[in-house]
């Protein structure tokens, strides 16, 4: 039995699609908030990949432990990132990355 849901290749394709969408969004969009959400998409896709490969090699649970720590690091990153966005907005009254030119030249 090898359906949609018990084949690692399907999960690899799905995770790489989500990662591609997130990476393209991070590179193309200028809104810092949308860029931070794109980073979250990429982290989520990597988590999905870790859990899928852990299910394929189900004799241990190290992959799920890794995903747990990635979620912890992502939570810390979002807290600090949003604080930096608030600080930047207070400075420039803008949330767009191409107006962040205080340290240019």
């Amino acid at each position: 039995m090898s359906g949609l849901s018990d084949n690692v290749g399907n999960y690899v394709i799905l995770a790489s699609l989500i990662f591609t969408i997130g990476g393209a969004g991070f590179l193309v969009r200028r809104n810092v908030l949308v860029q931070l959400m794109s980073i979250e998409l990429m982290l989520n896709s990597v988590n999905l990949l870790l859990v899928a490969f852990n299910r394929a090699h189900a004799d241990n649970m190290v992959g799920q432990m890794f995903a747990f720590f990635i979620i912890a690091v992502a939570a810390a990153e979002v807290a600090v990132g949003l604080a930096i966005i608030l600080s930047y907005y207070r400075l420039k009254s803008s949330v767009f990355t191409d107006e962040a030119d205080i340290m240019r030249h």
């Binding site: 989500i18 794109s38 600090v80 608030l86």
Partner: protein, 203 residues
């Protein structure tokens, strides 16, 4: 189509649609809702992959904390969060960067999709694979040191976020100390200190 395949299809479609909405929405609130959809889809896939503990953590941390934090910041920023950017000087570099990334990642996806995988189906797993009890035992035995490091990271991140977001309000709002009655007045105290008439008009 079995129930597992149906759940996979639903969750995959939710993930992809949510990711596309996140990236393309002009209003960041819609982007946050797309991110929420993606997170719910990935939680469903975790359930499918027998990771019940991670499903709960995903829903609590991402849907409960991260997305709510995004929405709070969007509310704080108000309409400025979706105002169009005033300068367009990075358009070429963004187009080149995004195009190159899409090209390379689609090439990588083609090579991955065309490869013959030796991992066809999932084998049998232990009955406690991915349960809260099993993952918790692993976290507090093998991953104990890393777990403590993660707690330290979260504490430092929260303190740093408060320090960065508060700014320098404490030093700027220092109370003005009145040492003489002259400190109470803004203008010149004696008439001869005043600037001659007409000079402030010229300035």
């Amino acid at each position: 189509m079995t129930a597992g395949n149906f759940l996979f299809a639903i969750c995959a479609i939710a993930c992809l649609c949510g990711a596309l909405v996140t990236v393309t929405a002009q209003n960041p609130i819609r982007g946050a809702m797309g991110l929420l959809t993606t997170i719910f889809g990935i939680a469903g896939l975790f359930l499918e992959l027998r990771a019940e503990f991670l499903t709960a953590i995903q829903l609590i941390v991402y849907a409960g904390a991260v997305v709510v934090l995004f929405v709070f910041v969007l509310m704080l920023l108000g309409p400025d969060a979706r105002a169009p950017s005033r300068s367009g000087r990075s358009a070429a570099s963004r187009a080149i960067g995004g195009g190159l990334f899409l090209l390379t990642s689609s090439l990588a996806m083609l090579s991955v999709g065309g490869a013959q995988s030796t991992l066809k189906g999932f084998g049998s797993a232990k009955p406690d694979h991915g349960t809260v009890e099993a993952v918790g035992k692993l976290l507090f035995s093998e991953g104990n040191f890393v777990f403590e490091l993660a707690t330290a990271l979260l504490i430092v991140a929260v303190v740093g976020a408060i320090a960065v977001a508060r700014g320098r309000q404490g030093t700027l709002r220092k109370k003005k100390i009145v040492q003489s009655p002259r400190d109470l007045f803004a203008g010149p105290v004696r008439p001869r200190d005043a600037e001659p008439l007409g000079t402030e008009a010229a300035e």
